[in-house]
Symmetry: C2
């Protein structure tokens, strides 16, 4: 069975992406850490709760610093998060011995997104397939599909421990004495606690 | 379990789309016929071979005639096929008592495609979810995933009996004494013969 690395935050979408591809791939979940927070441990716990193998990819802190510079320059997080996602996809494609990489990006995600040329470029340069099984599925159906098979805890992003890019950027903003809430509007976050 | 209608040609992609969503939905396959060919019977055979319930949707012949007019006007089939797909999605969303509709469109399909505003509009107007589980997956991975679970027969589109839009348009071109090969370049077609 071909080997697949799924970029994993411990949240609903990346877990559902893994479940969808499970019949076709030997799955491992991968969470990037930039050495800023220990949030990858939340992802490791979620991975254990759904019984998938999990590894942590130790990325360069400088990548997150660059993203934080961009965030401060823009005044909003979209490009910074996009940059972190693309850098992580590149790194995992380059350094993991897998046939394919995947993520949990949805049809109506505004960021990160992986457009067709970016996907094709990743595939060509690293000889892997890039899979985004939720790319053609909207928010409502993703929520229903996840509710069918996963125990998901949702709430305000501040209060839900997950290992997404926002958490690293929030920590860097705090280090730089910036007001986090100026850059990240309140939104809902999810955390997977097990299978149903 | 929510009910899903999958637009079905009997080919590889629409069958794989059904397989991917199978754990989450009560699936029925739907093949449109415009009253021009009996090609929906090939789709019915393929559906039986993979053991999914199958129904035929009898669309108005005028829809295919309009598409054929467009094809002759354009000189290429892209917009005609897009029109037939959108009309079929609309009709199935309107007339089937389902919670969701799906198709087998891939990331690198040039036609038909369903972009995000079109998907959102379908969902809003008919109160269904629209799912394109292969939208974020490229040709290579789709072929591998299908090969893993389906017995697929592939060959030149002329020689593989399937119930796609091209077949109806080809038949109408013949009725109008037009040279089919001027409008449809040779390409590969697939037909599902069972599960592995």
């Amino acid at each position: 069975m071909p080997r697949l690395a799924v970029l994993y935050s411990g949240g609903r979408d990346s877990t559902l992406a893994a479940c969808l591809l499970d019949p076709f791939y030997d799955i491992q979940l991968v969470t990037a850490t930039f050495g800023i927070t220990e949030a990858h441990e939340y992802a490791a716990e979620a991975a254990q709760a759904v019984a998938y193998p999990h590894t942590v990819y130790h990325a360069d802190r400088a990548v997150a610093e660059t993203a934080c510079d961009r965030l401060l320059q823009d005044g909003y997080p979209r490009n910074a998060i996009q940059f972190l996602h693309e850098q992580t996809l590149e790194a995992v494609a380059a350094e993991y011995d897998v046939d394919a990489i995947a993520d949990g990006t949805r049809r109506d995600d505004r960021t990160p997104t992986v457009d067709r040329p970016t996907a094709q470029s990743l595939e060509d340069r690293y000889a892997v397939d890039y899979l985004a099984p939720l790319q053609g599925i909207g928010h409502g159906a993703v929520a229903e599909m996840a509710a069918d098979c996963l125990a998901v805890h949702s709430g305000p992003s501040e209060s839900i421990p997950s290992a997404d890019y926002e958490r690293a950027l929030r920590a860097l903003l705090r280090e730089r004495d910036r007001a986090v809430e100026e850059y990240f509007p309140a939104h809902e976050q999810s955390r997977v606690e097990g299978r149903k």
